[in-house]
Symmetry: C2
Subunit: 120 residues, 2 copies
């Protein structure tokens, strides 16, 4: 993978913030520094970085992909009303522990990724 100014900018943006922005939000931030950067470039690099394991993608309920620059092992809480995404850093997140953070939990989805027996 060659160096590119645009990709470095995108990495810096996503690693430098604590929320979980969409491609569009990252595009907005990028344009403040590199006004000619293209939305396609943002999407392509986010996909690339995600494939390389440098960032994490979150498929949420708003039909947009959200990106997380923090690849340390942690879970997420998504508010069904406002869509806010909250990091959960404790090693084991039981519904009880999350309730203690002032959050009301109504459901959870845990998905593991990898290769099935046939595809290995």
């Amino acid at each position: 993978m060659r160096y590119s100014k645009q990709r470095e900018l995108i990495i810096n943006i996503i690693k430098g913030r604590c929320d979980h922005p969409t491609a569009d939000m990252i595009y907005s931030s990028a344009r403040e520094i590199e006004p000619n950067i293209s939305l396609g470039t943002v999407y392509r690099n986010l996909k690339l970085l995600s494939d390389e394991g440098e960032i994490i993608t979150l498929e949420t309920v708003d039909k947009k992909l959200h990106y997380d620059g923090d690849i340390s092992r942690h879970s997420h809480f998504i508010c069904e009303d406002c869509g806010k995404i909250i990091d959960l850093f404790r090693p084991a997140n039981t519904p009880r522990e999350i309730s203690d953070l002032g959050l009301t939990v109504s459901g959870e989805k845990c998905i593991y990724y990898g290769k099935c027996q046939e595809c290995q």
Copy 2:
């Protein structure tokens, strides 16, 4: 909520199979029994049933929503290559336990849903 023949058909289809079909797959099955059923009707009812908690939606990597008629507490494994979705019914699913099923785990995403402090 009023009774409707179409909705009952959709419920029966999704509850009667063990995989995790997309709206399109459910539409195909439905048309075999009710040839005039509309794709919009399928989408509307799937959303409705999901909101009511009668079925579960899975935001996967193929940009399509998948539906699960089994709302008992369980996790899922998604193959990064073929996209297959496998149910994981054991009470605690550690990467180790999943490996024992012949699956290679490369990552996991755990998302909790509910209401944040501001939205309660």
